[in-house]
């Protein structure tokens, strides 16, 4: 249904006049031209399109616009603040935690929410939590290492 949707995007108020059954992914990529959020499977399976809505990591390809009205949406474009990379981004670079990088936005935002809720995770918990984000290049081991090093778990901080 066509309507006027308002939400906070990366700290800025946004108003979209559009069909509120559309998926958040396409509003971000097409209407708002934020292409850091990736379209991959389109079915909520791979996690490449993950963004943060009201503090939770969600699959934007399966998130209807009407469900984000009035909420706070964060995308990969806001993870670095004031020109300074987030500790997770820095850790991904240092650990070479990607090859093509297509899954990276979703990996980072999934890990971002996870570490906020679990600042000192066990390695097993990281593995279990990241299991639903797919990386076809096969960088999972390095991704887990990077997340561990960016966490506050003892013996892992870089």
């Amino acid at each position: 249904m066509k309507s006027s949707i308002q939400f906070a995007l990366n700290g800025w108020p946004v108003t979209l006049n559009t069909d509120d059954d559309r998926m958040l992914l396409w509003a971000l990529r097409t209407d708002l031209e934020l292409t850091g959020t990736k379209y991959a499977c389109g079915e909520g399976i791979c996690g490449a399109c993950t963004v943060v809505v009201a503090g939770k990591a969600v699959r934007s390809c399966r998130t209807a616009l009407k469900t984000v009205a009035g909420k706070e949406v964060l995308t990969i474009e806001c993870l670095a603040r004031d020109g300074k990379l987030h500790a997770l981004q820095q850790a991904f670079i240092e650990h070479g935690a990607f090859q093509c990088g297509y899954c990276t936005s979703g990996m980072l935002l999934t890990a971002y929410v996870f570490l906020r809720e679990n600042p000192k995770p066990l390695r097993e918990a990281i593995v279990a939590h990241m299991e639903r984000n797919l990386c076809r290049c096969g960088a999972h081991q390095r991704i887990v290492e990077a997340i561990a090093s960016a966490s506050q778990a003892p013996g892992t901080s870089s």
């Binding site: 097409t30 990736k38 993870l79 991904f92 090859q99 297509y102």
Partner: protein
């Protein structure tokens, strides 16, 4: 008649005269010769430009797709030219600015293009040190290059930078000597594992992938996929899609695509197509597919490639029992035998 692209290796060898000599030469030169009109340029100016500020811009037709080619190529130039990795900017795959390249595939970047790129950087270094020797009034063998700066050995104040020497312009100086590539034992930058040069843009979402690039007037296509191999299109109803604003439907026999300026609308139009397919009767299922593949495999070393039935269908238990003594000719893998 010159060999052209599209010839297979065998036909090329026959055209080129065949025989042992050509086979021995089957390295970069022969692969390049497959398209005699297109070779990597000899002039190093085609590969790199040194700005007045000392930054080195490297041009290459080999693109980055996750394999690390942006970083590895920069390492090669940094090593041979004698500059810091951090002073290099890479321009990859821009057909207006980069030297011609056949493409990025087949693990050819390092072993095929690498030597040409390294030679270009080494030659640039030789020319620059020749210029530096003249400018500093010493013989070349007294010069030391480090981080894009040429210094007289033991006299750190007598120095000139690459940027001052090149002044950002094309370097036209010609030297008679051919530069010698650094030996592996001398490598400082090559062989190391620096952070990837493409890392910052990939962790910030700034990297532009093909699907992120928007060009004015560009349309996205979504293709109607048949539900199974061998299906044929009996009937297609595009009425709903045709009514959607901005949609173009293209049909060529059984190949159908819908086009729109944004990918979401193209997907909506695709979903609105009503297609009836004639489906072939499936001859294989999950239980029989493996034996089918084993029985009809390309024999890896047969020449020319031929499709053969190698093994009679066997029971899984019997197959496992025979595993240790596979007969000659047992397929080692599935693949065309020209992939080598």
């Amino acid at each position: 008649m010159s060999p052209s692209r599209g010839l297979d290796r065998r036909a090329f060898l026959e055209l080129a005269g065949g025989g042992v000599v050509v086979l021995v030469a089957l390295g970069p030169a022969a692969l390049r010769a497959q398209d005699a009109r297109r070779v990597y340029p000899e002039d190093f100016n085609a590969y790199l430009v040194i700005g007045e500020n000392g930054r080195v811009t490297v041009f290459s037709g080999k693109i980055e797709m996750g394999q690390g080619a942006m970083t590895s190529q920069a390492q090669m130039v940094a090593e041979e030219l004698g500059v810091e990795l951090a002073s290099i900017d890479m321009v990859l795959g821009d057909t207006d600015r980069c030297p011609w390249d056949m493409g990025t595939f087949g693990s050819l970047t390092t072993r095929m293009f690498g030597p040409a790129l390294r030679a270009a950087a080494a030659q640039a270094r030789l020319v620059l040190t020749t210029l530096a020797a003249r400018k500093l009034g010493v013989s070349q063998d007294r010069l030391v290059v480090k981080a894009g700066r040429v210094t007289v050995a033991g006299e750190p104040n007598r120095a000139v930078s690459y940027g001052e020497l090149s002044k950002g312009a094309r370097i036209t100086q010609v030297v008679d000597d051919k530069a010698v590539l650094r030996a592996a034992s001398e490598f400082r930058v090559m062989g190391a594992s620096p952070p990837r040069l493409d890392a910052p843009e990939k962790v910030t979402g700034a990297a532009k992938y093909a699907a992120d690039i928007r060009i004015p007037g560009m349309l996205y296509a979504r293709i109607l996929r048949p539900p199974m191999h061998g299906a044929t299109l009996l009937r297609l109803d595009t009425a709903v899609a045709e009514q959607l604003p901005g949609i173009t439907v293209i049909r060529h026999d059984d190949l159908v695509a819908v086009l729109h300026a944004d990918p979401e609308s193209a997907a909506t139009a695709l979903a609105s197509l009503k297609a009836d397919w004639r489906l072939p009767e499936a001859k294989l299922d999950q239980d029989s597919i493996f034996e089918h593949i084993v029985a009809y495999a390309w024999v890896r070393d047969a020449e020319p490639p031929r499709l053969v039935a190698l093994l009679p269908p066997v029971e899984p238990a019997a197959s496992a029992a025979q595993g240790a003594q596979a007969a000659p000719g047992t397929p080692l893998g599935i693949g065309l035998n020209n992939d080598r």
